[in-house]
Amino acid sequence: MKELVELLAKSLVDQRDRVSVVQTETDKMVNIQLTVAPEDMGKVIGKQGKIANAIRTLVKAAAVKDGRRVHVDIDQ
């Protein structure tokens, strides 16, 4: 899941080397924290969170096999 968020974020931002993804897990939940450069926030969130939601939708699809709930947070 972490790899997917990283791949998607790096495909969208200008400052690829400032993308970092941290994944923490419990037995029921997977929490993913995406951090990008402040200037790139708009590129991973989008108008009304459209891009962020698309990222979450894909991550949820990837998590189906896993069976756990995934939560993606975006930070600068």
Binding site: L7, L12, I55, T57, L58, K60, A62
Partner: protein, 211 residues
């Protein structure tokens, strides 16, 4: 894809020459060193052999879309075969394989997200907006046929009962399929109401003939 091979005194010289020839920035190019310069003779007294590099970069939006989708499939652990073809103004990417329901999602939700992100990722690399349509296992075509059948059936019902029918929420593309399917029906009018993402098509009798 554009490719060139260059030689030079040092690897750096060869790379620079190649980048200039292709007219591409370093970050967008793939650089492979084919031969490092090697000193000839004792202590390099006979000079050094030339450095040889291969520089390539992708300039085709269709191939970029394939790159992106293949990478996504790989990290999602989904086995898929992808192909792309240009259709006039846009590129059409087809993804096929088994177990691809995961890439389609509920009412094509995951497929929409994948298509949206593919368009953004390619636009980012090309520097301009490019339209890419992504389909998985012919889902879009099947969905279009289903929507057209649904539109025809409901329009018959509206003509029979005289009361309007409100469809379930759909994305702009799907709503357009419904409007287009019924545009030649002289007794029927269609319009959309509500706000995204809950905008719905309404099928009703054409005004003036309602009563």
């Amino acid at each position: 894809m554009k490719v060139t091979e260059k030689t030079g005194k040092t690897v750096e010289d060869a790379v620079t020459a190649g980048l200039i020839e292709l007219g591409v920035e370093r970050e967008k190019a793939v650089i492979e060193v084919l031969e490092e310069p090697v000193k000839k003779g004792l202590f390099g007294l006979l000079g050094t052999t030339a450095a040889r590099v291969r520089i390539s970069y992708e300039d085709d939006p269709g191939e970029m879309a394939l790159d992106f989708i293949r990478s996504v499939c790989k990290v999602m652990d989904v086995q898929a075969v992808c192909g792309v073809e240009r259709r006039g103004e846009f590129w059409s990417v087809n993804v096929s394989g088994s177990e691809l329901g995961i890439l389609i999602g509920r009412r094509g939700e995951t497929l929409e997200a994948l298509q949206y992100l593919t368009n953004l990722a390619v636009a980012k690399r090309v520097g301009e907006r490019i339209r890419i349509v992504v389909d998985v296992e012919g889902y879009r075509l099947r969905r279009e046929e289903t929507l057209i059948r649904l539109a025809k059936r409901l329009s018959e019902k509206v003509k029979r009962t005289g009361s309007r029918v409100v469809l379930e929420p759909m994305n702009p593309h799907e709503r357009r399929i419904i409007h287009t399917a019924l545009q030649d029906e002289s007794r029927i009018s269609t319009f959309s109401e509500g706000d995204e993402p809950n905008r719905r098509v309404v099928i009703s009798l054409r005004r003036g003939r309602e009563f």
